[in-house]
């Protein structure tokens, strides 16, 4: 009798613990952020120029700056962010489960990701394309000359599919060797295991500058074989948070278009007579209130990280080791594709 009641107690405790398991959060992200006092931002474990921690543990990069701008707009302090480094396989699960509030991790917008993961794509922060890098000693000038080559690829990205599409379309019979970790891909390519390396063109520039013994020994081929619009993603079911993240990005682009920089924000807020600038900086209208924030939302974001061109030049621009030109990432009226929706 004693053993029966002890067993029954144990069984019912196990069942009860499952019944009281915490219900996963599906509601107001903004409320949670405000009560927590921090934005939880999912970033890359280390991709130079986009998101990476330096030797002091300080995070820098284009994706990092976007999260800082959002934190400044929402909480008033760009440092109130908790960084969660994620590898490619876990990034969507981390966002779906609620572990991070926003995924700012050089993620390409595609139909599958928009439609089947329960996630939303906010706004494009970087227009990229997939390219190839080969050693200069192979004297290859074009991707179409890569017949039968072995190509190093990192798993967990859209890269493999694009590589296969390109190989089939041009009958190149490329062989992909797929590694899980970026360090393994880099080691294999620079040791000579593969004849080519493929990833986003910005990633190639970053890896060449950081990993190659002599960056001049490697050539990035001119062809871009795919479109890779990169930007942050958020969960579905929270339209308020979706709107905030999207409009902070558009605000950074609008600020560049109308000449608002990190240095002159306060001055322009006080003195500018341009009605668009007055609207962006919350002087004439309170657009922040419509989003659930306050009227100084863009002022704080711009003071924290500057406008889009400052973010670009600081992280991936011509003075950085990546040395990228604005190219397709210039504003729409400057020959590029960056077209911010108007803040009004």
């Amino acid at each position: 009798m004693k053993s029966l009641s002890a067993l029954g107690l144990r069984v019912s405790l196990v069942i009860a613990s499952f019944a009281f398991a915490p219900v996963a959060m599906a509601g107001k992200t903004l409320d949670a952020i405000k009560s927590r006092g921090q934005v939880v931002c999912g970033v890359n474990t280390g991709l130079a120029g986009f998101s990476g921690a330096d030797s002091q543990g300080k995070w820098t990069g284009l994706d990092v700056d976007v999260c800082r701008a959002i934190a400044a707009a929402v909480l008033g302090d760009a440092e109130k962010v908790r960084w969660v480094p994620l590898v490619a396989q876990q990034r969507f699960t981390a966002l779906q489960s609620g572990e991070v509030d926003i995924l700012s991790r050089n993620t390409t917008f595609t139909l599958t990701r928009d439609a089947s993961l329960g996630l939303h794509q906010t706004a494009v922060t970087f227009y990229d394309g997939q390219g190839f890098m080969v050693p200069a000693s192979t004297k290859i000038k074009s991707a179409k000359q890569l017949k039968g080559a072995t190509v190093c690829v990192q798993s967990g990205t859209t890269t493999e599919k694009n590589l296969t599409d390109f190989s089939r379309a041009n009958k190149l019979d490329l062989k992909a060797v797929v590694y899980e970790k970026l360090e393994a891909v880099n080691a294999a390519y620079f040791a000579g295991r593969c004849q080519a390396y493929t990833t986003d063109a910005s990633g190639l520039a970053s890896i060449r500058s950081k990993e190659a013994k002599n960056p001049k020994d490697h050539v990035i081929l001119p062809e871009l074989i795919s479109k890779e619009p990169l930007g942050p993603m958020v969960r579905r079911g929270d339209d308020e948070w979706f709107a905030i993240t999207k409009w902070v990005i558009y605000g950074l682009l609008e600020a560049e278009e109308y000449g608002v920089t990190q240095a002159n924000v306060d001055k322009l807020k006080a003195e500018s007579t341009d009605p668009v600038v007055q609207r962006i900086l919350g002087k004439s209208e309170d657009t922040g209130k419509l989003l659930g924030l306050d009227r100084d939302w863009m002022v704080r974001a711009l003071k924290a990280v500057g406008n889009y061109s400052e973010i670009f030049e600081r992280n991936v621009g011509e003075k950085t080791p990546l040395g990228l030109e604005r190219g397709t990432n210039a504003l729409w009226n400057d020959g590029g594709l960056m077209y911010a929706f108007p803040i009004r």
Binding site: A26, Q89, F92, S155
Partner: protein, 333 residues
């Protein structure tokens, strides 16, 4: 002698009560599992995350660098998983054979009369047991990839029949058409024309796993040999058998009874450790599932497939080994 009276089964006996409790426990466990599964599906639907195994019929859209069967990127996902499964089984099967051979030699070597042999075996076991297996795999891979020559100038082995380079190990295979002959590899540019190639990734996984697990197998064999009483060896010597004959005909067969069950463990470890191949680019089932997971977003389904693959592989291996164990078990009176 009269037959003892048959005992009547009673639900009130200790055995009866135990049966009822076990049945209750099974029902409760199944209920918990059903609750977890339905909770997961319900949560996924609530968030708009699509689920289901229907994606297995869609075109995969990626190529696989090394495969036993022919695979194109337009083949469906389930075929990609099959390729991954075959790759895992290929490295596990060859690895098990190599590790058994090497491990047995090392284990027997611990009892050699030559002190140098004994010391070498001891050093090997201690070295390879204590370094984490992922580091060993990475080390072998980076060594192979760094120091092998480029595919354009490979190392010639066995005359001109086998080539070793950064592109892998190329060896001749028999071909049936147009006529029975050997298809010999010939280096040309990036690839080899003819023959079959195994990639450096496969070589590194095979080498790393075999050498690592051989250290454990050596200890298992050593414990098995040590379990056979000294009297057996003395009796064999008194019959005029040499030490080698004693080991082969008397000691090892009796040691098998102690060796086979832990050896099964080591075989299962080797099979499961092959999932680390994803770190060095070998397309085993975990690597394929990772790619499928990223392209379709079906995290729960892909992980479930991986678990199913390893579970069934492990259960089959241990069932085979248990059958073998029963065969070599010493029938005691």
């Amino acid at each position: 002698m009269a037959t003892p009276p048959k005992r009547k089964w009673s639900w009130r006996s200790g055995a009866g009560r135990a049966l009822v409790y076990q049945a209750l426990l099974v029902v409760v466990l199944l209920g918990l599992l059903a609750y977890l599964a339905s909770n997961t599906v319900r949560n996924m639907q609530a968030r708009g995350i699509q689920s289901g195994f229907g994606f297995l019929a869609d075109a995969a859209g990626f190529d696989i660098s090394e495969s036993l069967i022919s695979f194109e990127s337009i083949d469906p996902y389930w075929k990609a998983f099959l390729v991954g499964l075959l790759n895992t089984l290929r490295v596990a099967a060859i690895g098990i054979v190599l590790t058994t051979v090497l491990g047995t030699l090392l284990g027997v070597g611990r009892f050699a009369s030559n002190a140098l042999v004994r010391g070498a075996c001891y050093a090997y076991v201690e070295l390879f047991r204590n370094v984490p297996v992922l580091l060993q795999l990475l080390m072998w891979y980076l060594l192979l990839v760094e120091y092998l020559p480029a595919p354009q100038e490979p190392i010639h082995l066995l005359g001109d029949w086998v080539f070793l380079s950064k592109g892998g190990l190329a060896f001749p295979v028999p071909q049936w058409s147009p006529h029975w002959a050997w298809s010999v590899p010939v280096p040309s540019g990036f690839l080899m024309e003819g023959g079959a190639t195994v990639t450096p990734e496969f070589l590194a996984v095979l080498l790393g796993l075999s050498l690592y697990t051989a250290a454990f197998v050596a200890e298992v064999v050593r414990s098995g040999i040590a379990s056979v009483s000294r009297g057996q060896a003395d009796a064999a010597a008194s019959l005029g058998l040499s030490p080698a004959q004693t080991m082969r005909l008397v000691t090892l067969p009796q040691a098998l009874r102690v060796i086979v069950p832990p050896l099964t463990n080591q075989y299962l470890n080797l099979t499961k450790n092959s999932s680390l191949a994803v770190a060095i680019g070998y397309p085993d089932v975990v690597s394929i599932a990772n790619t499928a997971l990223n392209q379709t977003g079906r995290a729960v389904e892909c992980i479930a497939i991986i678990m199913l693959v390893y579970l069934s592989t492990s259960l089959s291996t241990s069932a085979l080994m248990n059958a073998y164990n029963r065969r070599v078990a010493i029938a005691e009176r």
